[in-house]
Amino acid sequence: MISIYLIIAYSLNLVFGTGGLLLLCSSAFYGLGAYLYAILSTTLKLPLLQSVTITMLYVTVIAVILGILAVKFRGDGFVLVTLGFQLIIYTVLYNCISWTNGPYGIERIKSLSINGFVFNSVSSFLPLVSSFALLVFFIFKQIDHSNYGLVLKATRNDFVAVESLGIDSKKILMISFVISSWFLSFAGIFYASHMSFIDPTSFNLDESIFQISILLIGGTGNLKGPLVGTIVLLLIPEILRFIGLPNSIAANLRQIIYGFSLLLVIFLRPKGIVGNNGLG
């Protein structure tokens, strides 16, 4: 799970950390990836390559349409549009029962396989997803140091100055939005194939808030922050399990700890544990 969440954290880091846009629909793209892959590979029984390709095509189209609408705004308007998209996707996943099986979810999802080798055990899946997370790390490192990465950072800091140089800042933000949505969907595909069961509750607004909390607590704008945030936030449930709290209390308590951690970070370390960019 740490590897899957690392992919999510690095994807969000591009839009939020580097681009400065607070995205509240990350779990919608994560869910779209998971559901599209599950429907295509399991319900429609398409081969892996086709399932993944069609999933990515759908996600690209949706991300472009949403991006065109959302990047018109900066700040609260962007947040509201992405929040709306998150709720629309959740409503569709929950209520389009003929495709998604609604609250009952989709089960027995096909595991990923390459050349007949099926990644259906932890020992085979872990190297696959870890390698992909590492690949994602290097891709984002390249983006971070590229001209595009510099322009994206400049757009975050002063979009008027960027526009005055003749650069279309909306286009720059759109590209980061689409790239992030691809990797978020890839994380969804890994999640669906690994868990072999998905239901809409894994892709709700709380999950989006959790995913953005990873970045906020770890820190944004560099490549260490997402790693630290992922490890810290994924270890909290394990610690609670170790203490031996009942599941019903542990779930709420975990959320309360996330909330307090966020407030503490905002007041004590506005840049996150190892972040470069201040929030305030």
Binding site: G20, L22, L69, K72, F73, G75, D76, G77, V79, L80, V81, L83, G84, F85, L87, I88, T91, V92, Y94, N95, L205, I209, I212, L216, I249, N252, L253, Q255, I256, Y258, G259, F260, L262, L263, I266, F267, P270, L279, G280
Partner: protein, 288 residues
């Protein structure tokens, strides 16, 4: 169900949504915080009243409203105001409101559980006029909401303190130079918003009950109405609440309640595509 019944249901629902929209709009315009924590503040009123109403029915309503106002003020003084003084960015303020909301909602879940609760404060009965059915709860909702909406509208235009609230939204530094205390006006606006949220919460909970999701739905309805109506236009917040509620009643009648929030956001997206400054905001040329 006739068309008139659908319209009446829509108007009843809108009257409560308009209270939430004013609560969100006043806070947003004054403090510039996209305040998601109003969801949990809204819920607090119903939960506190629910805790007490069997022993002290009428007093529980007052305690519920007072506790909500107190909570709102405590959050303002301990979190939002100190962050604003430190010149926190809008993103930081938004994230802090998300954090406050996460903590409060989960505290409420731990204390009261997740299931839907009913608030039987008054006798449940309904009025029949021909084919039309209007429940007492709906009558109470519409009467109280319209009284508050009228009072607020009059106060916004005539009262000194409401004008100060407006001035704080326009230019806090100028207000300070005139010798007014920013924190006092912020507390005042928080009190008014918390009162509106508490009233809306109790009215809605008395009619259809409440659960932990009710706060988020209320926040969404309020914030979308403010953005649709135009942030600078309080009348627009109320009008857009009515338009959204009517559209939602028609959709709910033709399909199901499940698509409610989807309708809300599709309306929002369509409107901001066509008119990003809101339905009822009219930008004029500076020289006119």
């Amino acid at each position: 169900m006739t068309l008139i019944q659908i319209i009446i249901n829509g108007i009843v629902s809108a009257s409560v949504s308009a209270l939430i929209a004013i609560a969100f709009g006043l806070l947003y315009r004054t403090t510039k915080i996209f305040n998601i924590s109003i969801a949990s503040v809204y819920l607090t009123a119903s939960f506190i009243t629910y805790l007490l109403y069997k022993n002290i029915p009428i007093l529980s309503i007052i305690v519920g409203i007072l506790a909500t106002c107190l909570l709102g003020v405590v959050i303002e003084i301990t979190i939002y105001y100190p962050l604003t003084v430190r010149k926190a960015s809008p993103a930081t303020l938004l994230i802090s409101s998300i954090a406050v909301n996460v903590v409060l909602i989960n505290l409420l879940a731990l204390l009261f559980g997740n299931e839907t609760k009913l608030l039987d404060l008054f006798e449940r009965n309904s009025l029949k006029i021909g084919d039309l059915i209007i429940s007492y709860a709906q009558l109470i909702q519409i009467t109280i909401s319209f009284c508050i909406l009228t009072t607020i509208t009059i106060l916004m235009n005539r009262n000194k303190y409401f004008k100060l609230i407006r001035a704080l939204g326009d230019n806090p530094i100028l207000l300070k130079t005139h010798g007014y205390s920013v924190i006092k006006i912020r507390i005042l606006v928080t009190l008014i918003s918390s009162f509106l949220l508490a009233t809306a919460s109790l009215l809605k909970s008395f009619d259809i009950g409440f659960n932990l999701n009710a706060g988020t739905s209320a926040f969404l309805a309020g914030s979308v109405a403010v953005f649709l109506g135009g942030v600078e236009n309080p009348n627009g917040w109320v009008f857009s609440s009515f338009i959204i509620s009517l559209i939602q009643s028609i959709v709910v009648y033709n399909s199901s309640n499940q698509w409610n929030e989807m309708v809300l956001f599709i309306t929002l997206i369509l409107v901001i595509m066509l008119k990003p400054q809101g339905m009822f905001s009219f930008t004029s040329r500076i020289e006119s």
